[in-house]
Symmetry: C2
Subunit: 294 residues, 2 copies
Amino acid sequence: MTATIIDGKTIAAELRGKVAFEVAQLKREHGVTPGLAVVLVGQNAASEVYVRSKSKAVVEAGMTPSDHKLPETVSEAELLALIDKLNKNKAVSGILVQLPLPPQIDPQKVIAAIDPAKDVDGFHPVNVGRLSLGLPALVPCTPSGCIMLAKMVWPSLAGLDALVIGRSNIVGKPVAQLLLAENATVTVAHSKTKDLPALARRADLLIAAIGKAELVRGDWVKPGAIVIDVGINRVAGDGGKSRIVGDVAFDEAVKVAGAITPVPGGVGPMTIACLMLNTLRAACAQNGVKAPRL
Amino acid sequence: MTATIIDGKTIAAELRGKVAFEVAQLKREHGVTPGLAVVLVGQNAASEVYVRSKSKAVVEAGMTPSDHKLPETVSEAELLALIDKLNKNKAVSGILVQLPLPPQIDPQKVIAAIDPAKDVDGFHPVNVGRLSLGLPALVPCTPSGCIMLAKMVWPSLAGLDALVIGRSNIVGKPVAQLLLAENATVTVAHSKTKDLPALARRADLLIAAIGKAELVRGDWVKPGAIVIDVGINRVAGDGGKSRIVGDVAFDEAVKVAGAITPVPGGVGPMTIACLMLNTLRAACAQNGVKAPRL
């Protein structure tokens, strides 16, 4: 048996297409164009690549990008002043501050300064709290993407034994909240967990978000399980080149799982698509328009 | 083998004593007397009993109580105006609005109106979010009490397989966050969970907070496990009288568990003790005084 490959690239492209359609409708019917402001501090090669692909997606979705590049030496006060300006700017529906930030800046202070209604990353304590409480919230993008991919192959996650490996604020914890909201029975495992393989073998749905290359082996996977691999790890490949692998040993797991996301081309593309969706939703909420169900 | 009985009544009394000691010190050294404002709307017999015992504990801890009774017919605007006044009152360190509220009032709107720094129930989205993010927060009282009781018999919960039965915003979800912060491997089960007995049998630490009388049977308990019973259920007793039982069949579980909380006299008394502790902590934070480690 070979698992169904969950094609994140295609699913993300479809979602971006739907967002673009709704953006066009929002413009036409309400005269509102969503705008995403992306703030990048310093020169981090990976961050720059990521910011460029976000801006490209914003334009393709028919939304207005505004990129704000600040020098590595910028003070916390200057960054907070920019955020204050973006909070007040009605053309800006969403604000994203690319992490990590240089050491003179407290990231929590910066995140807390963003208007929760514009916090399209879903990292503001108010959005984190509202997600946990089951109230409407802007939800972190990667976790949203994981749930969408899982539901592509298994429309109701209710009653599934779900295992989340990793408890980061960006993926592990919010994806656990989303799984609970989907009525899954949720276990969160991490570096202090004893006998992770045995836990994994019981999971109908396994979400790996621990950042360790190919940690999850094929014999950890319950036959027929859904495996969502959030890991993006660079390892040495053939001929001195590096290659990207996930947190799951794909070649092994694909023989056991019922469905699995590849790396790359699985969860990764969903993150930006969900960011577009969050920006659209934020724009709708700020303008008193009912958000589309996507 | 019979389980150790975790004597919540005594442990709570000790905690209240320590809080009273610290309150006296705070007065002496900083001239600060913590104050707790309790808001009660309408006439709910259970709520009135609970509010009275809170006020008594506040006085015994050397803090200043202020009780605010509003009629059942009070408008949302009037209640919000009172909260605004309490937010601004420097003598009030903590604000607690007794739930449930009558139907004309949106409880989420009321909770969100409380200054998060005075939210001693830990229900404000900002505190819920900060707890999840691992930032300093006012933490809900019953979950805090559960963790304290478990640590009385097992000082480090790291690596334990913990099962939380119930996913309420008041107990299940916050206690899961606290267990994660203690480095336990955490599973949250609920009404949609399949084969709850099998899950329970794997738990080193079982926290039952589902509100179903004696749902958890003795043969659900892993031998030697710590069992924390949050349930308070009134059932028919002998001779037509009612009696209070927990979510765990105590007489059965006590023969299997390593340690267990009784009902009553387990988690119950911890809730008010932790409320006193939260009020002390809030007063310290509002006055720039380092909170004592209790």
